[in-house]
Symmetry: C2
């Protein structure tokens, strides 16, 4: 009894979820039912379920036939060491788009382009002066209509004069990586910086995240032989995305993993 009540209730409910007594899509008892069965006030019942919301295990739905629902945990895989790396692996369109289709889901994305001042951290990664400007291609990526990830790609301004298509707001059919390669700016080396974080309010809004849902933040710097070409900042909705890397001899992996 050293643990507070709300933690005990949270533990109880969590056990039911991870052992499969409650399955994705199932409803938890309503707050009033929890009050009765555990003999606590509504605030305490809410504190308990708030823990599970923060862990991404349940989702709250207001309204008459609402309630608290065990969340779906479907995952989408991003093959980080194949996409954009192996030239000619896919015939056209950009890497992410292909990935999603290959996994049998419906991708869609909205683009917009702005010209912004590079934050110091980003400028350093691109090897340009801080406060210099860059074109930013922003997109919200959806899978089956639901937001799945955000990507903002920063291109140094001088590069945009070389490749003015980067400034056009719409989609670029062959994908920007391929477009740049056609202009002599292929990217034979990439650096990925991956970390977990809580979303900013803006990110949470765009990704339609429940409070307490973490995100995976990936900063990918693309290098041509002579310079850093672009910096892509991708925010993956945490629990439903994973990033896969294959290192070393690709033949060996192919032997044991079928994609």
């Amino acid at each position: 009894m050293t643990l507070p009540k709300y933690r005990n209730i949270a533990d109880d409910l969590r056990t039911q979820i991870v052992t499969g007594v409650l399955r994705p899509g199932d409803r938890l008892p309503t707050e009033t039912q929890l009050m009765d069965t555990f003999g606590v006030s509504r605030n305490t019942a809410r504190a308990a379920t708030a823990v599970l919301v923060n862990e991404g295990l349940i989702e709250r739905v207001p309204g008459r036939s609402g309630g608290m629902e065990v969340r779906e945990q479907l995952t989408l895989t991003f093959h980080a060491s194949e996409a954009e790396v192996i030239p000619g692996l896919w015939p056209e369109s950009d890497a992410w788009f292909n990935e999603v289709q290959r996994q049998g889901q419906q991708p869609s994305q909205d683009f917009s382009v702005t010209i912004d001042t590079l934050p110091a951290e980003y400028a350093e990664r691109l090897g340009v002066e801080a406060d210099s400007s860059a074109a930013v291609r922003r997109c919200v990526r959806r899978v089956n209509g639901r937001p799945s990830s955000l990507q903002n790609t920063w291109y140094p301004m001088d590069l945009c004069q070389q490749v003015p298509e980067l400034l056009q707001p719409g989609d670029i059919k062959q994908g920007t990586t391929r477009l740049l390669a056609e202009r002599g700016l292929s990217q034979p080396a990439l650096e990925d910086d991956v970390s977990a974080a809580m979303p900013t309010p803006e990110e949470a809004r765009l990704l339609e995240l429940q409070p307490g849902t973490p995100v995976l933040r990936m900063l990918r710097t693309g290098f041509s032989r002579d310079r850093a070409v672009r910096l892509s900042v991708t925010i993956f909705s945490g629990p439903i995305n994973r990033v896969l890397y294959h290192l070393g001899d690709p033949e060996i992996i192919r032997k044991f993993r079928s994609h």
Copy 2:
């Protein structure tokens, strides 16, 4: 205006933190001060600060001279595509230990070994039968005395007969990767599976995480030429760790990045 009070207060405080008005180590106003300055009840003040705790921005400290403190955001980098991959890169000891020392911090780790039944998901990754058993080397990794990450590495049982040292509970000086290589089980290929998640209660306890702090979960499968040799499950305390991958031509990266 349409936003609830506690969100407005949270936004206000968050702005002060991200703009640097409040710097890491600084104290927020106490709950009673927040009640006064924003004219709300204590519950509302707590709801507001709870948002920031969930975002990993602040830490609550009880006691006389406690309060709510803006968290340090120092990050530790794990070079995923160098550690354990480039043979002979470091003279001895295991990959993580070297990484931390190279970044000027004090690493330490506690080991324990158990024999457990492989969960279905892990068994599949190792290409062995579900419910077969495996040796698990568990460790808590600390940086300057504070827990930084957890790592559980699973070795199929038949492998342990080949390399019985794996079952010894203490540290293995040259590192397990090197030990296995000495027995003809080098790992020329690795697969990493990276995602963001909220910690289980056990993980939160071991890593001494504040409620609401996300983690980075990395599953690394190591392959010899003939089989999957091991599965390492690493839980990085989210906000203070990042994982770095270098893909493609390493010469190019070296030109632009100094480590």
